[in-house]
Symmetry: C2
Subunit: 112 residues, 2 copies
């Protein structure tokens, strides 16, 4: 029970990371990036059926949440997954889920 690296994420922080995942387009982008390590912006723009400005906004949200990083390359940008916040979310949700005692809501009911 030592090992408290990257302190226990707060409700706010967890909600913030979750909010970044709370949009199908952003999930799609993350999975795109996961499929190829890194990805040029123009490829991302080409893969989604959304306006370039919309996708750029999604990228901004993901970056702000720390889920991706970006750097300029040639005439464009390259986007890249980052583990940090996703790991925190995994750990926090994992801790919640591990507490589930298989109570599926019909134990010791009202049959008094």
């Amino acid at each position: 029970m030592a090992r408290r690296v990257s302190s226990p994420i707060t409700d706010e922080q967890l909600a913030t990371v979750a909010r970044a995942l709370a949009n199908p387009a952003r999930v799609r982008i993350l999975r795109l990036l996961a499929a190829q390590d890194q990805c040029r912006g123009s490829e991302v723009f080409a893969q989604l059926p959304l306006a370039q400005s919309t996708i750029s906004e999604h990228l901004r949200v993901l970056k702000q949440a720390g889920l991706i990083s970006s750097h300029p390359v040639g005439t464009g940008m390259v986007y890249c997954l980052q583990r940090g916040p996703a790991d925190q979310l995994l750990r926090a949700v994992g801790e919640i889920v591990d507490k589930v005692p298989e109570c599926d809501t019909r134990a010791e009911g009202r049959h008094h």
Copy 2:
């Protein structure tokens, strides 16, 4: 490579579960439930600094996302965590995160 129980979650589905986690009050509720297996509604209402109607709405969202279940008991309700959707989220995010190649955005940049 068999074992495809609860098929690979879609972008939409993952986003939906994430959206349920995308609010601090709901995270708080989940953690409350995790801390005590199950929880009477009145306790939940008492723990959060929000109107009862607001909390009831949050419980509805969590239930609709499949993250909790509920059943009547005595004169009230009991809420209870459910693993299913949270597990799917863990698996999906885990798969994304596992692909991260430690590219932290400054590799092979523009120093051509």
